[in-house]
Every structure is written in structure tokens, then in C-alpha cells.
């Protein structure tokens, strides 16, 4: 009898310790990508614990529903992700396994950035022979600062919904962010004038929002189909195409395999510009955009 009591107490104590280790009062935010983690940090300030499920070195599409991620989602008050099927392989699984009602689709804690902006390149034909395409459109909206601003506005109002007691703070943080961001945009646009109409070749078709913003002209994509590694025959075609219609540079996300880009560079003499596709762990959005534009600017000069 006594041992049974002891056993039961031991379990209760264990449970209490576990529950108390969960932090109260502080908002737990699960961001799928580092760019949304950075945005959330600037809007939520110090009142939130922001976790990014992926790093700048990972392909956000090919993530497994790891135990550690399930544990993080379990405790999240708000989910900030890209949406548009970018996380289709792992996010639904995390949500189902989490046992967390707050961040299920349709709840205030479920925030998808692409729900708040218009998407480019919505495919007219949905067929997997065209590669791993996203039915809703190209999901990489974080490369357009204006869309980031739109997302910021929507995210601030989501934060206010999730945590009404700090509405004032979120409002102020949004104002501060907007001011800083708009100043930065005008500065970048001044600097990036010389990039207008530069002709580029990209490795994977994930730069479309940056191209639109800066007025870059995309001549070719090294992957013949999105998500499928470039074939040598397709690379040959690109090479022939560039002989007729030369480009200015090759763009390449630094987390991706750079071999195809280097191969093409060797044959064409074109400069390979390796760009950070997402901010690093603690980096802010402005710093990251500066770092993103720098290699482009120096390649264009």
C-alpha cells in the first residue's frame, strides 16, 4: 500500500515539475522559417519566445516532422509560417501530433504569411510532370519587402488577437518597424537602381519576388522543373540559350547545391552570386536584406 502511494506521489511530482517547466505569461511562438522568426521578434519584442523550425541552411520544403518540432508545436501559442504548401510535407503532421488546439487551422494562433499577400506564378496547369509546383503560387514572398510589410501588418493584428493584454506594445512595435522598414526600402531602392534590367540565370525558381522588386530579368532556370535537380541536357540547353542571349549573372541560394551554377559559370564566365535566402538565427530583417543586396550590387558594378 505504502509503496503504491509513494509511486503515485512520485508520478504527481514528476508531472508538476514538467508542467511548471512550461513558461507562463510569456508567448511561445513557433515560426517555420527564420524570416518569419525575425519579423515576429521585431513585432513581439521581448515579450515572446520565438523559435524557428528551420535555419537559413535548410530547404524549408524538405523537413521531417521530427520529435523536437512536435514538442515545440505542443507548447506554441502562435504559429507563423509561409503557407501556400511550402510546409505541406511536415506542418500538417506536426499539428496533428501536437495535441495543441490553439494553433490548428482556423484558430487565431494559426498564421500563414501567404494568406495575406498576393502570390505570383500561380500555375495554370497542375501536373507533377512540371515538377513539385505549388498550386497556390510561388510561396517565397519574403523576398519582396512590400509583401513583408503587408505580412507585418497582418501579423501584428494576429499578435493582438492572441495576446490582447499587450495590444499597445504590438501597435507601437508595428509603427517602429514600419518606419524603419520604409526608410530601409527607399535606401535599398536608391542603391539598387543599377540592378534594374540586369539579366539573370537562377538555380531554382525561388527569386521571383526579388526579381519583380528589383526589376531583374530572368532568362533561364537551371532546374528544368522545380525541385528536380538540373539535368545535363537541360544545362546544355541553357548554355546554348545564353550564347545567343547573354546574361549578366547567375543567382544561387547559399543553402542549395552550387555545382550546376559553377558548371555554367565555368563555361560562360558568368559570375555566380551566392545569396542568403533567409536570415541567420538572430539576424534582423534589415541586416539580412542588406546582406542579400550587397553581393548583387557588387556583381553589378
Amino acid at each position: 500500500m505504502f509503496t503504491q502511494w509513494k509511486k503515485r506521489h512520485w508520478f504527481t511530482v514528476l508531472l508538476l515539475t514538467l508542467c511548471s517547466s512550461a513558461s507562463y505569461g510569456q508567448l511561445n511562438i513557433f515560426a517555420c522559417e527564420p524570416e518569419w522568426a525575425a519579423l515576429t521578434r521585431s513585432l513581439a519584442g521581448n515579450d515572446a519566445k520565438v523559435y524557428s523550425a528551420t535555419t537559413a541552411q535548410q530547404d524549408p520544403h524538405h523537413i521531417q516532422a521530427r520529435p523536437s518540432l512536435i514538442a515545440k508545436v505542443r507548447r506554441a501559442d502562435l504559429l507563423v509560417c509561409t503557407g501556400a504548401e511550402l510546409e505541406v510535407g511536415w506542418l500538417p503532421l506536426l499539428l496533428r501530433k501536437s495535441g495543441n488546439a490553439k494553433i490548428q487551422p482556423g484558430q487565431v494562433g494559426y498564421f500563414m504569411a501567404t494568406d495575406h499577400v498576393s502570390l505570383l506564378e500561380k500555375p495554370g496547369v497542375l501536373d507533377r510532370s512540371l515538377g513539385d509546383i505549388h498550386a497556390a503560387g510561388n510561396p517565397h514572398v519574403h523576398l519582396d519587402p512590400y509583401r513583408i510589410q503587408q505580412v507585418a501588418v497582418a501579423l501584428a493584428s494576429s499578435l493582438m488577437d492572441v495576446d490582447p493584454s499587450n495590444q499597445q506594445t504590438y501597435q507601437e512595435n508595428l509603427q517602429a518597424f514600419t518606419l524603419e522598414w520604409s526608410k530601409a526600402i527607399s535606401q535599398w531602392e536608391k542603391q539598387a537602381k543599377r540592378l534594374r534590367s540586369k539579366r539573370i540565370v537562377v538555380n531554382h525558381n525561388n527569386w521571383v519576388y526579388l526579381e519583380r522588386w528589383l526589376g531583374l530579368e530572368r532568362l533561364a532556370v537551371l532546374e528544368s522543373r522545380p525541385g528536380i535537380a538540373p539535368s545535363s541536357s537541360h544545362l546544355g540547353e541553357v548554355l546554348n540559350q545564353l550564347a545567343v542571349n547573354p546574361a549578366d549573372m547567375i543567382l544561387h541560394a547559399d543553402y542549395q547545391n552550387d555545382k550546376p551554377a559553377l558548371w555554367l559559370s565555368k563555361r560562360t564566365g558568368l559570375r555566380v552570386v551566392s545569396l542568403p535566402f533567409s536570415p541567420t538565427k538572430e539576424e534582423g530583417l534589415v541586416d539580412w536584406f542588406n546582406r542579400l543586396l550587397q553581393p548583387l550590387l557588387s556583381a553589378a558594378s
Binding site: D59, Q64, A71, S98, G99, Q104, G106
Partner: protein
């Protein structure tokens, strides 16, 4: 007279000098005042300038913000897309699986000494065959429930068998880490069991899964899991099953089997992750579990039938390494599972005449496998697997045990496997696999060429 004149002159002189003095003082003061004026003027001018500048920059910032707002307004979405009747259809995916198999021995004669095989245990068809095709439908039902259905199509000796592999609902909104699942589903015992066969890294089940579950443990019932609110992944769960399917009895009413399990897991840095699982399955009062048994030379088919209590303990460990956590380009996956089953009851040979042959049964079967799969390039992976089983079954009538296939015949079943996969995209896989199979005394060389394709909605990237 002279004196007053002098006085007057002096006074005048003094006065004059006084006046002159006053004059020069005024001048100095004037100068000072002018200097001060000038100084203040400059300061005020500077202040005015600064104010003007500030006003200008505020105006500029305001303009920029307005400009931004205007641009944002411009690029705003053009509203939701039109929705038709079918936009709420569940996510549908189809798994096509098939290939070619070659065996040295006759696959019909397959057995594992010490294990009475049942359910789908076996080598499958020789030559060309369509394997295990699946139709999967799933969706969130509302904000409270998720539902999933999996239909499996098998070609069994010329006949198409349709099997309801999974049909369950699951809660979404209970919160506090609690999930409840009800219906027919894959039990969470072990690690591999909860994954569909087409996601496995080898084209056949580990020997221990084949020996204990007939490849996979599926049953009807409810499952409840709880996830601890900790950074370390820690899940506790239990399942109650009808026990109507192998390796429970098939004839039981009510709750025929139950499981309890726990999984813990986490990451080590960015590149490594792991999961450890302990699970227990138990069926008390199994009544008449039939299995394939041991073939007689030309004799009539006799079916061994077990009744009694059965319990299984399992341990599983999974470890994955991918540089920078980018498993798409490179990944090493190690997996180990150990199972141990103890049974107590009796075995009757059905169809052995009247009265039927029977024996008391005290069984102990165990086994493990370890496998490593290395994805060395985005589209290529290779794997190695080792299986080994052991059994120590006793009964009052040793001959009946032999006939039931429960005698290990002094043989330790083993198997070595190697696989080589080509993954052209996330949705397709071609596999070549070789088994050096010592399941029974006569060593078999097995070769599989298998395709597995996934059509329709995007599959899940399970851990």
C-alpha cells in the same frame, strides 16, 4: 571773479570728460549688445534650421510611409479564388507499387522455425506482380476532428483483395497535448509499425515483424496519447483494441488486446535527431488464433490454433544525421528494434482428426533487426539490414509443437539485406534489393526490383 570762472571751467571740463566717459561706455554696451544679438541670432538661426530640417524629414518619412501603404494596397490580393463543389474534397493520394521478385527456393515453402506465421507473413509473389497499391483519403472534418481512410489492393493468387487498412478519426481540439484516435489504425507499438509499408526503407518487413505480427499490427479500437509540455519530446500513450485481428484471436468480444507505449526524442545540434521508444502489447484470453503452420509431405493441411495469454515488449531506437539538417541532400538513418513475446496457453491442431492433437504451450520468441540507410546524393540511397530471431517454446507434446512450426529445429533464423534506391523526385522511387535469407534451414537468395509511386496530394515527411 577769476575763481568762479576757473571753477566753471573745471566743472565744464569735468562734465565734458564725464560726458565723454559716458559716451564711450554707451558705445561699449552697444557693441556688447550687438555681439550678443549676433550670437543669439546665429543660435536661433541654427535652431530654426534644425526645426525646418526635422519637419522636412518627418514629411519625407510620412511620404515614404504613405507611398509604401499605397504600394502595399496595389499589391493586395485580388480576393479569394472561386470555390466549386469539389474544393472541399479530401486530400486524395494513390500509391502504386509493384515489381519483380526472384527466389531460389519455392516461396510457398517459406517458414520461420519457432514462429507460427499468420496474417500477411510470407514472401509474396514470384516474378512480376503488382504489390500493395493504396488509395488514401484524408481531411480535417471540422475544427475538432481529422479523418483518414486507406484502402489497400492486393492481388492474391489471381484474386483482387481489397482491404480496409485504416479508417480512423482523430481529435484536433482537445488541447493540453492530448489526442484521441478511434477506428482502425496502425498500432504505435515499435517504430516501423506505424508507418505504411510503402514508406519503409526495404521492400519487405523485418523478420521479427513478420514472425510476430504477420508484417504489421493493425486493429480496431481507440488510442489516447499525451504529449508532455517539455522541450524534450515525450509522449505517453495507450491503445485498447478489439483484438479481432492477428496476433490476437479473431473471435474475441469486447477488449481483446491493449498496448501502452512511450516515446522520447529530440535533436543533438542542428544535424542530428533521435527517438527512443518502449512499448508493450498484451492480449489475455486469446481464443483460437490460427496460423499457417508446418507443411506435411503430402499430408492434409492442419492449422495450428493458439489459445491463451500473449504479451510483447518492444524497444526501438532511431537516429538520423543530416548535414545542417538538410535531409533532402544527404542523410544517414540508423534504426534498431527489439521484440520479445511470451505466451502461455495451448495449441490445437485443427483438422488433425478427432480428438484433435493438442499440447500445452509456453512460448518465448524474440528477435531484433538493425538497419542503416545512407542517402549519399539527393536522388540516391543505399541500405544494409541485419535480422535475427530466437525462440524457446515448450509444450507437453513436442511432436505437436514441431507440426505447428513452433519448434525452432535447432536453427537460428537470420537474414542479411542490401538495398539500392533511386529517387527521381519526392514522389517516385525505384529499388533494387537483395536478401541473403536464412529464415529456415535452406538458405534463399532473394532479389526484388520494386517501384513505388505516389500520386495526388503531397505525402507526409514522417520522422
Amino acid at each position: 571773479m577769476g575763481q568762479p570762472l576757473l571753477m566753471a571751467a573745471i566743472t565744464a571740463a569735468l562734465l565734458h570728460s564725464n560726458l565723454a566717459l559716458a559716451d564711450s561706455e554707451t558705445e561699449a554696451m552697444k557693441q556688447q549688445l550687438d555681439a550678443l544679438k549676433k550670437e543669439y541670432g546665429q543660435a536661433i538661426k541654427a535652431l530654426e534650421d534644425r526645426l525646418l530640417k526635422a519637419e522636412q524629414s518627418a514629411k519625407q518619412a510620412n511620404n515614404q510611409t504613405q507611398e509604401l501603404a499605397a504600394k502595399v494596397e496595389q499589391s493586395k490580393a485580388s480576393g479569394p479564388t472561386a470555390s466549386g463543389q469539389n474544393s472541399f474534397n479530401p486530400a486524395i493520394s494513390l500509391i502504386l507499387d509493384g515489381g519483380f521478385a526472384s527466389f531460389d527456393n519455392n516461396p510457398e515453402g517459406y517458414e520461420i522455425p519457432g514462429f507460427a506465421l499468420g496474417n500477411e507473413a510470407g514472401l509474396g509473389e514470384k516474378g512480376f506482380s503488382v504489390g500493395h497499391s493504396e488509395l488514401v483519403m484524408s481531411a480535417n472534418i471540422d475544427d475538432k476532428f481529422f479523418g483518414k481512410l486507406t484502402l489497400a489492393f492486393d492481388d492474391h493468387e489471381g484474386e483482387i483483395e481489397t482491404e480496409l487498412e485504416e479508417a480512423f478519426i482523430q481529435t484536433l481540439a482537445l488541447g493540453d497535448g492530448v489526442n484521441v484516435k478511434a477506428g482502425r489504425f496502425l498500432s504505435e507499438i515499435g517504430y516501423l509499425n506505424q508507418q505504411h509499408a510503402h514508406t519503409w526503407d526495404f521492400s519487405d518487413a523485418p523478420l521479427i515483424y513478420r514472425g510476430l505480427f504477420g508484417d504489421q499490427l493493425i486493429d480496431d479500437g481507440v488510442q489516447m496519447t499525451w504529449l508532455a509540455p517539455t522541450d524534450l519530446f515525450w509522449q505517453l500513450g495507450a491503445e485498447l483494441f478489439s483484438g479481432s485481428r492477428f496476433p490476437a484471436s479473431g473471435r474475441s468480444n469486447g477488449i481483446g488486446a491493449w498496448t501502452a507505449f512511450t516515446h522520447i526524442g529530440g535533436d543533438i545540434g542542428v544535424s542530428q535527431s533521435w527517438q527512443l521508444g518502449l512499448s508493450h502489447w498484451q492480449a489475455n484470453g486469446v481464443e483460437g488464433r490460427d496460423s499457417g503452420g508446418h507443411e506435411h509431405d503430402g499430408g492434409e493441411a492442419e492449422t495450428p490454433s493458439f489459445s491463451g495469454d500473449s504479451k510483447i515488449n518492444a524497444l526501438s531506437l532511431v537516429y538520423k544525421w543530416a548535414p545542417n539538417g538538410n535531409s533532402n541532400s544527404q542523410q544517414l538513418k540508423f534504426q534498431f528494434e527489439y521484440f520479445d513475446r511470451k505466451e502461455d496457453g495451448e495449441v490445437i491442431m485443427l483438422g488433425s482428426g478427432s480428438p484433435p492433437e493438442m499440447t500445452s504451450y509456453d512460448g518465448h520468441q524474440k528477435g531484433w533487426y538493425a538497419q542503416t540507410v545512407y542517402k549519399f546524393k539527393p536522388q540516391w540511397q543505399a541500405g544494409l539490414r541485419y535480422d535475427v530471431l530466437d525462440s524457446n517454446n515448450r509444450g507437453s507434446d513436442a511432436d505437436v509443437l514441431v507440426e505447428a512450426g513452433l519448434d525452432n529445429e535447432g536453427h537460428t533464423p537470420k537474414r542479411y539485406s542490401a538495398s539500392f534506391d533511386w529517387l527521381p523526385s519526392e514522389f517516385s522511387r525505384l529499388r533494387l534489393q537483395y536478401n541473403h535469407d536464412k529464415s529456415y534451414e535452406q538458405t534463399d537468395h532473394q532479389l526484388f526490383l520494386q517501384y513505388t509511386m505516389s500520386l495526388g496530394s503531397h505525402g507526409a515527411h514522417q520522422f
